[in-house]
Symmetry: D2
Subunit: 117 residues, 4 copies
Amino acid sequence: MGMDPTTPQVACFEAGIKFGSLYHQFAGTPVSPDSADSLAAAIEEAIENQPHCESVTVEVREAPLREAIAAAGADYTELTGRFLDVSMVIDYEGCVVETSMAMEDGYPLMQVDSVSE
Amino acid sequence: MGMDPTTPQVACFEAGIKFGSLYHQFAGTPVSPDSADSLAAAIEEAIENQPHCESVTVEVREAPLREAIAAAGADYTELTGRFLDVSMVIDYEGCVVETSMAMEDGYPLMQVDSVSE
Amino acid sequence: MGMDPTTPQVACFEAGIKFGSLYHQFAGTPVSPDSADSLAAAIEEAIENQPHCESVTVEVREAPLREAIAAAGADYTELTGRFLDVSMVIDYEGCVVETSMAMEDGYPLMQVDSVSE
Amino acid sequence: MGMDPTTPQVACFEAGIKFGSLYHQFAGTPVSPDSADSLAAAIEEAIENQPHCESVTVEVREAPLREAIAAAGADYTELTGRFLDVSMVIDYEGCVVETSMAMEDGYPLMQVDSVSE
């Protein structure tokens, strides 16, 4: 039998929504080292619009981005998780959730880092 | 001070990821009454690929879809939340989370319906 | 019977690709008056990465954006065509195509404004 | 000095819009061999809604999809151009444009195959 969610559980749900939104809204965007900063800034400000979203920090990882572009003999590539470091703070009714996405064993992993009481 | 997340909290985070992914991957897709069923089926099967996602049910709400198309004097419109009813079951390490998105007061609301122990 | 495309026809095809990319990559992005400028800048720089794309100018139309947000009693909304003015210059093998998207009769219309010889 | 576009040029512009739309709407979608058919069907029907679009044929290329999933030790991956074969017919005011996207030298290439008079 399921129970109604607690406030911290809803806070984690809200945090997940922001991560899924961020990833699937912007994955596929054409990106190069020159355009990486404006994209990171836009992602941060776009997702911070969403409810309960205190702050979003996005960094485009320049080394793997340059490698992927060089390997393809291209000038740009498409944004995907391995080019991103993201951290986010959600505050839902006073419960603060810290989350991040970073590379682990070669794959981007979204995780909850901490939940306040 | 933040604590490590509990299993039910991570399960809710995973549920949120799926909702954000679903919404921001498919919002904006050209949709008409004739193409609604294939889109709903594709959304279900695409999101069910994601980790810990037991089942996804998507229904395109035909009445508001037809109204929006008629009001615009068009043949199709772009998918957005008010044309969708979604329910989803996440199972993360044995913790089952039921979630849904439906219209409330004129806006699509994503919510956690229940969390198992 | 179909013929091989001419250079100006391919230039117009390339211009269309950029418009479809721009629209469907960024439609659905959470946007508010405060985040409109960073989003416009990111769209410009992202699409300028694409081949044969000389320049992209994006302006978020603040009046309809503010009206939509106020009408919804919200703090932000989702990006869609009626909040955007876009102009773009494509140069394909010396053939320059100027294109734009703007509101016409209440709908966003993408069009070719001129093709050089 | 630029000239007004001809009907075949506008037809090619319209064809480009559909390709950019298709790619950037659906790139990033979670996809596996089991969900490939429903996704291909939804893409076809969604893009066929757009103006002047006579037909869209999408095939997910199963061999590279299976290889990418196996190489990642995963159950699914994200849709990108190298998993897609697409052909499309646009009819704009009687001018028929045939276009396709397929792999060339390791990269997905969108091209105009023929333009009718």
